[in-house]
Symmetry: C2
């Protein structure tokens, strides 16, 4: 064995990631050309991704906007059925035993959709605080959710997924008192792995924080559209 040889498993993993990055780069270009702002959601299972997304889709799907969603799970089409109640186009991606979405799955799921007819696309990843970290999906904004019931320590225990996100969303705020949630500790832990990351606080149940979230989302999309059209 040569001293610089790479173990086979590492090499295979690198090839997968390289291929994924190529597909993701092509997707990102397509999304920009079509004027679709793409947001992905990652979190542990049961952090409230689907509830938050259903609320977001319902609020956006008011005639002024044209959102759509892809949702990943190992099994079942339950989440797509829940999200479809918003009236937005939704498609389930089932991954079998895979613990994350890959860019090629997103590409396949979009194959017969007309991207220029959309302005927002949400991609709900498989509930997992580890696997999705390394896989770019071509999104413009990656949100990591942390529910108040999970414990304030999760950012310290799963640094890559917090480090790789653009925005942290603390969910299930309505349960904060019941679980004696320490918001200052959660923010401190998030910022220790992702300094200056913006943090929003929401309750999909009560609706608290949803207007702030929508304002920020619309502003982000407006900014991305402006920068895309002013670039040569």
């Amino acid at each position: 064995m040569s001293p610089v040889s790479i173990p086979r498993i590492v090499q295979v993993r690198r090839n997968i990631l390289k291929r994924n990055d190529e597909v993701a780069r092509a997707l990102r270009l397509r999304f920009a050309e079509a004027g679709v702002f793409v947001v992905s959601l990652v979190s542990s299972p049961g952090s409230g991704k689907t509830a938050f997304l259903e609320k977001t889709l319902t609020l956006l799907n008011n005639g002024a906007h044209h959102p759509a969603a892809l949702v990943g799970d190992l099994a079942t089409g339950n989440d797509a059925a829940r999200l479809a109640r918003s009236g937005a186009p939704v498609r389930q991606i089932t991954t079998g035993t895979l613990c994350h979405l890959e860019a090629a799955m997103v590409e396949n799921a979009l194959a017969d959709w007309s991207l220029p007819d959309l302005d927002f696309l949400f991609i709900e990843n498989v509930g997992n605080l580890v696997c999705p970290s390394s896989f770019d999906l071509g999104e413009s904004l990656r949100i990591v959710l942390l529910s108040v019931t999970e414990g304030e320590d999760k950012p310290l225990k799963y640094p890559p997924i917090f480090h790789g996100a653009d925005l942290a969303l603390v969910t299930k705020l309505d349960l904060a008192d019941a679980v004696e949630f320490d918001g200052a500790a959660a923010a401190r832990n998030i910022h220790s792995v992702a300094p200056e990351m913006p943090i929003l606080y929401v309750s999909s149940k009560s609706g608290a924080g949803m207007n702030d979230w929508l304002d920020r989302l619309l502003a982000l999309r407006a900014r991305s559209t402006t920068s895309a059209t002013t670039e040569p």
Copy 2:
């Protein structure tokens, strides 16, 4: 390409799993010879594995029993520090970017422990509802935890981890009313992927269900010791 060739990534994965099974088999034999009953815990992050385990260790570590624990996380030694408050020997395994424990990590972590001095060993896996499924750790009992705050649908969305466990533990029972937990739906979903799996309900906070759990644990160990000694 021959029609029966196996893709390289599948082959690498099979080799890893085969090697893991060999180490796990050797561990299981060592545990049986030493009279240690080994329980592993799997769940999504924040389901309450550490709180439940701290309570269990504290209740067992009363002079009559000699429990110990290994705990896996990507980063930090926080959980080991929490569990050590019970007075039991505890060791943290940090996995870096890996989303599960493997049998070899357990073997290494135990290297300088005298197994015959213990009667219970608990192995808390990395919080993940996917990755730990395929990795045997040599345990006698694998418990999957589902907190009431995660949603009753999780067994349907993550079938392998529920299917591969021996016992389901519904945790955070004290929050059941606040989240309108539907216990019948949760049990139905667990049994649809793991028919007849025993389900226990606990709250580490209030202590509810902990005596039932300890009774069952002691009975399981007694049965395993008896069957080990009566076998030729």
